[in-house]
Symmetry: C2
């Protein structure tokens, strides 16, 4: 058995010494925190059964997830397998074939299914040695940890086209896993383009494959207001058409589907800017019909509407975080969209209150925060609020970085929590950002003390919707969102040098010399020093970006093909621009 | 009640006088052959039941289709509706609300479920007048006709966001429908890029929405050989990787899923060119390792392999048509890929047989035709075979046009059947072909006698896969493939003038004058003369291409949004290049 902890070294070997031609790949994305594997191969019974234990073992979420993953794992087997499975279920004594793995035992210790920030998502997964047991085991503290374990299990299973059975290679496996960050987000913008419920469900499903766990739903913006708000029923008059809307029931369905996948929904109501569409139903919210943003700060009515929206939304969204936006508010005096000082009644109000426009911006954001907090929400705001009046923000505020690097260090230095979304690396609509730039971005960059690092709750990739509609949103998200979700661990410089030298030998055809290098590497006298800091799910790497071509690229290409097989239209990994078509014929694994 | 037959006039009115702002759209794609509609609105019970009649009423295909369409029709209603449905099913006496339509009665006269070219796909669909009946009826001769009727029914149903019920507007409806052509195809190329089974299933599903009925599966080409052939098990060594393959069971599953949707699968084995990948497993099929195409004509072994492939495929594919390719065979003496005369043993064989390379091309194609015919298949060949040796082709040959216009007229003049796929208009990988050019292409162009017109069995849009992988194949197919599938009927010049004049009034804000024109139009003293020639599904139009912007574009945009809602990533209709992202924020219905 080949043991390394964390075991990147092994994966590098698989990728180069074995390659795609001879043996199936067993690539995990994102990499588990710790794992060992062997060199056996186990067949998996298509009639795989679930047995459960622990206080949370009887969870309906777990049962549904097992059924879902069984369909995924045995999907390619197709007709024949469905037939065998049916036959086996009807005739339990009929052993059509002998399989090594016949059941999956899942232990869930807690029956608490509340899904909140920081819920325990850890799990252990054990695949036995051939002949030792016919059972794969997953053990988790919560049902959400078991979901993560099931995803990893599904990635261990490969369809063997020769025997037409599902196999687990490199058995036995022992995996101890937990996420690096509690908040692993994807933002979806349903205002610039409306995405039908079916499409949002497809995206949720794919998020669970990448072990992302927060959908930041940027529901409303200037362009359209698609959500039903029962208290203010004219608000969704701001939708593009009557057929591009989300009912309260739709929103419930999204929240519930996410819970089934262990994914929280953080809704956003972006105020006071980015809100022009509100006025389609209630024009009084605009400073004037000709000057529509930011929302009219001078009227109590404006805050009544915000309060009404948040009251209605509180019934739908159980997650403790609520995003209040607060970005790009035009308060500069030379700004043409500067409505507050150019609209007479607002201007007068400002004078009466002895406020500048900038003061009013602060006043508005803080008042919105008060409303959110009164409804038991933790407010999240875009970084402009912090950059402009940090000391005034509610102390529980989570600051959402987007403009550039270096913001989270300032945020945590002042004791606030931070979400990392530096647009130069994690805005998915920036099509010129290649996968490796997404991959090597580091949320803890520039933050050196453990106590400050803990204030970075995670990161989020943002899918702004200006040029992404139903036809191309998923290929803009995938595979790059997964690059942020999963981070490889890389061995230190010494180990890396051994590998690189060996690789050069192999490429030159100097097989013996290459092997000698690898054997030297595997006999490494002491455990290789791995920088064990962390990233979104996996461990933080400690090497230069170039190295990811060896350690991460083959795995990400494999994950992209896995998404494709599961019906997700993830784009080629290495295209010059994201979501661009492949340049010519070729394998999914190479493009 | 507003009656017009065919009723394009009505649809034009809806599109411009009503627009998207006030009433829901009821747009059908493709347009039925004949229909009338009214001005009522009926609510549809989410617990809609199916009642059946006729010899074919108990069909499992029908039951499955009903369940599928019920999910589609009530999808947006989401959680609340599922809940109501469950409640109603458990408590049949509990009437949560009164609905106008509570059941769908489907009569299928024949229990013959054989799916072949020319199967009867006609149906009638009647939606009652409010209060007259609570039953919508579909009547068809075959179960496949009932499937087409169910699709039309689903397009009549709209979700009303105000009452949160599904409604049928413009009731009563009376629809008599049948396809114009028996063969309405989409070609998929799984050699240049491998599409996972899940993706092919998504494409099949969407084909049924557009009432396309033949998947031409271009399985194998130069680049890869993904299909399992049990008799020659090394053939799929020519796949890109071990994980980009179709097992026999996969192929069965595709055929079966298609049958459930009323879609035939026409497989293609393209010989003797486009076959380099065959030699990965059996290098003897190449003239030489350095000169690999066309397949070695001199060996009996080559034809043994073809015969073996066709024997295996016959067990999978029940459709009577089999495509033998035969395109782009390089026989010119100056052609660098001209392997037959440059490879010594083939050259010698040609001399012994007293054959030129062109003779050998004919010999090869005819021998392949013999093999296919011996297995009870009707051979289909690309047009080069006809262009080169028409008189020698098997008399049952169906010639598949692709090079350009004017081929089908020559083909039918010689008594052969023809499939229209002129690359200038119906190659979907030609991204610069806009929707209206696809839409206005006419398979019967230049064919004037009824007997010759009957020999054009239909047309096919071709999705060559060089730059289309899983990430972008569906947006390259849709919505343009639907443009070929559906053709609007257009009123004659007089009617058109009335509409255009009215429209100009409306645009200028001259509402009264515009209305007067429309009223004049609706009081048209005699039924407007419609040129009742035909296209792929719908009636052939008789006006100039410019007019489609009025009659077809809003309906196609609506159909694109319908595809999006059903989870199909159909691209914006009017983008300069197909599958290009939208240029900015906006509604699905406008982009």
């Amino acid at each position: 058995m080949f043991v390394l902890k964390p075991a990147c070294f092994f994966l590098i070997l698989v990728s180069f010494a074995v390659g795609q031609g001879s043996e199936p790949l067993t690539y995990l994305w994102p990499l588990p925190a710790q794992f060992t594997s062997g060199d056996g191969a186990l067949s998996v019974d298509p009639a795989l059964t679930l047995s459960v234990a622990g206080n949370g073992g009887s969870s309906a979420i777990l049962r549904a997830a097992f059924d879902r993953y069984r369909r995924i794992v045995f999907s390619h087997a197709g007709y024949g397998f469905a037939f065998i499975r049916k036959l086996r279920e009807q005739l339990p004594l009929l052993s059509v074939a002998q399989y090594d793995v016949v059941s999956l035992n899942v232990t869930v210790h807690s029956d608490d299914e509340e899904l909140q920030l920081g819920v325990d998502e850890s799990y252990t997964l054990v695949v036995p040695k051939s002949g030792e047991s016919s059972q794969v085991t997953i053990e988790a503290n919560t049902v959400y940890g078991s979901l993560r374990g099931l995803e990893t299990f599904s990635q261990l299973c490969s369809f063997d086209y020769t025997t037409k059975t599902v196999k687990i290679y490199k058995a036995p496996w022992s995996i101890q896993d937990k996420p690096r960050f509690a908040f692993r987000g994807l933002m979806l913008d349903t205002s610039r383009h409306y995405y039908p419920i079916n499409v949002i469900k497809q995206i949720i499903e794919a998020m669970s494959y990448a072990k992302l766990n927060v959908l930041h739903w940027h529901i409303i913006d200037e362009e359209s207001f698609p959500l039903e708000v029962p208290t203010y029923p004219k608000l969704w008059k701001g939708s593009y058409t009557k057929w591009e809307r989300y009912t309260v029931e739709d929103a419930y369905e999204i929240v519930n589907q996410k819970a089934e996948k262990g994914i929280n929904v953080m809704p956003e109501v972006d105020v006071p800017g980015h809100a022009e569409s509100w006025g389609a139903g209630y024009p009084d919210l605009w400073p004037s019909p000709s000057c529509r943003e930011p929302l009219d700060v001078s009227k109590a009515y404006t805050f009544d509407v915000i309060s009404g929206i948040l009251t209605d939304m509180r019934k739908i969204f159980p997650f403790e975080l609520f995003h209040l936006g607060g970005d790009e508010v035009h308060t500069g005096t030379t700004d043409t969209s500067y409505c507050w000082t150019s609209t007479p009644h607002v201007k007068e109000w400002l004078q009466n209150q002895n406020m500048t426009a900038k003061d009013a911006y602060q006043y508005f954001v803080l008042k919105a925060q008060e409303i959110a907090v009164s409804k038991n929400w933790t407010p999240v705001n875009w970084e402009e609020t912090f950059n402009t009046f940090a000391s005034k923000l509610h102390p529980e505020t989570i600051v959402h970085n987007w403009w550039g690097p270096g913001v989270c260090p300032k945020v945590v230095a002042k004791g606030f929590r931070c979400i990392f979304s530096n647009q130069g690396v994690w805005y998915l609509d920036h099509l010129d950002v290649p996968w490796d730039v997404v991959y090597t971005a580091e949320p803890l960059e520039g933050i050196h003390t453990a106590s400050e690092q803990e204030l970075v709750i995670g990161g989020e990739v943002c899918m702004w919707g200006e040029t992404a509609d139903t036809s191309n949103v998923q290929q803009t998200i995938w595979p790059r969102a997964a690059a942020a979700a999963g981070r490889a661990c890389l061995a230190d410089a010494k180990l890396f040098n051994i590998l690189a030298t060996s690789l050069v030998h192999w490429i030159k055809g100097e097989k013996q010399a290459g092997l000698a290098q690898l054997l030297h590497g595997s006999r490494f006298p002491e455990p290789p020093r791995i920088h064990n800091t962390e990233r979104l799910w996996s461990q933080r790497d400690s090497t230069t970006p170039q190295n990811v071509t060896l350690t991460a690229l083959p795995r990400l290409q494999n994950f992209r093909c896995l998404l494709n097989k599961r019906g997700v239209p993830a784009a080629p990994v290495t295209n010059f621009y994201a979501r661009r078509a492949p340049v010519g014929p070729g394998s999914c694994y190479d493009q």
